[in-house]
């Protein structure tokens, strides 16, 4: 098989709900096609594997130019959600719920379950040492599938020959 040795590595640096999904979806597709997957979580991306944070990732409408009024079911074309509205209490929770509902309709699993699927399918998850130290986190703070806390140099060693995708 031609793609037997193909390897993909993702660097997840964001903790927003919308930015959690790209690596999960592409990683799952890769595993389904027989491609090895490694994911390195750094900076805010650590929220994705933090036991206390993974179920509470959010999407904020402030300064997000792609969020339109029409997403809230109002037929207003290209009119954006005004930033001043986005700062109202509850707007982040509202946008988050909107996205979670849409994902649910498409039968896309929540982040914690998705990560478990990836781990069960053979993905290797690592946390970035520098940002783990910066946030005073420990291995026990992470979900079970996380194999280790490694340095950037370790990551470079373990992803030799991989295609690397930064998110």
């Amino acid at each position: 098989m031609a793609d037997e040795n193909r390897k993909v590595a993702f660097i997840c640096s964001k903790g927003n709900l919308d930015m959690a999904y790209p690596a999960l979806i592409m990683g799952w597709a890769a595993l389904g096609n027989g491609i090895d997957v490694t994911i390195f979580f750094t900076f805010w991306g650590l929220d994705m594997i933090n036991k206390n944070r993974v179920d509470h990732l959010e999407l904020a409408p402030v300064a997000n130019t792609s969020m339109k009024m029409s997403m809230m079911g109002v037929n207003t074309g290209n009119l954006g959600i005004p930033n001043v509205m986005g700062i109202l209490p509850g707007m982040t929770a509202f946008a988050t719920k909107l996205m979670k509902d849409k994902m649910g309709e498409l039968e896309v699993p929540p982040v914690r379950e998705y990560l478990q699927m990836l781990v069960d399918a053979g993905a290797k998850l690592y946390a970035c040492k520098m940002t783990v130290d910066m946030n005073d986190l420990k291995k026990e703070d992470f979900i079970d599938g996380v194999l280790d806390i490694v340095t950037a140099g370790d990551f470079m060693d373990m992803t030799e020959g991989s295609q690397i995708i930064f998110i």
């Binding site: 979806i25 389904g32 027989g34 896309v108 478990q116 399918a121």
Partner: protein, 105 residues
């Protein structure tokens, strides 16, 4: 569109080797296709998954995604990847005589 002969029967396949007419499929063809994919033996567990895929596709018209399979056939992700190693998404669909799964999950 091409045709090929497998276990004595002529079947239609696309350029990637997926069968294009699910009604031409039978269990002997599945065994042969599985062998081509590196699976020397199809166990009861394999058949449970293949049967589920056939039924699901008969209802929906498309090959089920991996998550559909784990939920619908009652098999764990781990087992699915052990039973059909190195890329179950395409492998299961191909052996089941279906096209590539169209969903992302």
């Amino acid at each position: 569109m091409a045709t090929r002969t497998i276990s004595g029967k002529e079947i239609q396949v696309n350029e990637e080797g997926f069968m294009t007419n699910p009604s031409e499929w039978d269990q002997e063809i599945a065994v042969e296709l599985a062998r081509e994919e590196g699976l020397t033996e199809l166990t009861a567990q394999h058949w449970k998954i293949i049967d589920y895929c056939r039924q699901s596709a008969a209802m929906s018209g498309a090959a089920p995604t991996l998550r559909n399979i784990t939920n619908g056939a009652g098999v764990s992700t781990k087992d699915l990847f052990v039973l059909f190693p190195k890329g179950p998404a395409k492998k299961v669909a191909k052996i089941s005589g279906l096209g590539k799964p169209e969903g992302c999950v």
